[in-house]
Subunit: 164 residues, 2 copies
């Protein structure tokens, strides 16, 4: 890519400065620079007592998992609009599992284990069309495209979960 | 893995519920379930006007990038402690770049482009030891280990940036 004269390529760029400001606390200031210069955001993270922190803010993985799920939420709506396929207000219930392997008291080694998204587009649009929206959204999602774990997506159709 | 009788494996599990609550806004409630049951966190995301949103909260990628950078911040400190290598309070300046390719008005296709972390451990500890801390931390970081893009890390040594 780009694979045709008709393809336009754009940049998405973020810059962040993070400083350690407590035993396990971090304070972050960041900004999207491209495609538009956005407002500066400020976020704080901490760890709970099990990780030696003071629990003064949510842990880093709560930010990561929120970013992962909501990036897809945005793209579901953007894709539906661009494909002119009607959907309702999306809901996602996500379960995200990792494993850590530790030898003695050495630093542990992390790995992704199982990521599952149950997606309810709250619409009567047929399954085939909902699948088109989801397929496009997963390719547009800036987080999902850079993961080396596959996410198990299910769609809610007629009150039942359907693997897609 | 596990690769020896001495290896202990633990789980890290998050569950989140995200609901669309505005044109592009989402409200998220989530919780870490393992290794310990943590407090419920609540986070909101929105998009700016360039993406059809109301900018009522930071965009999803601000949460993702914050999670990515701070997860490594935590692991730098945890790894240094476990390896008994002294470091100061870490600082990271990060630049995270994606590209999007769009044909006409179809949903675009996202891809990672260049991720760079400039890391200042604020210590006189020799480079070789700092590299050991960083190498361990990148393997412990639950976000970095599930990325299919490599992060270009630099360490601040004697006032200069060193590629590692």
């Amino acid at each position: 890519m780009p694979d045709s004269a008709d393809t336009k390529t754009f940049d998405v760029v973020y810059e962040l400065s993070a400083v350690a400001s407590g035993v396990m606390r971090n304070d972050v200031r960041g900004r999207m620079l491209e495609p538009v210069l956005d407002h500066i955001f400020e976020m704080a993270t901490d760890e709970g007592g099990y990780h030696g922190g003071d629990a003064s803010a949510p842990p880093p993985l709560s930010y990561f998992t929120t970013g992962l799920v909501t990036c897809l939420m945005t793209q579901l709506r953007a894709s539906a609009k661009r494909l002119r396929i009607p959907i309702g207000l999306p809901k996602i219930d996500a379960r995200i599992e990792w494993k850590g392997d530790q030898v003695g008291n050495l630093p542990y080694v992390a790995r992704g284990h199982a990521f599952r998204f149950d997606i309810d587009l709250q619409t009567d649009t047929p399954l085939a069309e909902q699948k088109r929206v989801l397929a496009a959204a997963t390719k547009s999602c800036f987080v999902e495209v850079i993961l080396n774990v596959s996410i198990h997506h299910r769609l809610r159709i007629d009150g039942k979960w359907v693997d897609v």
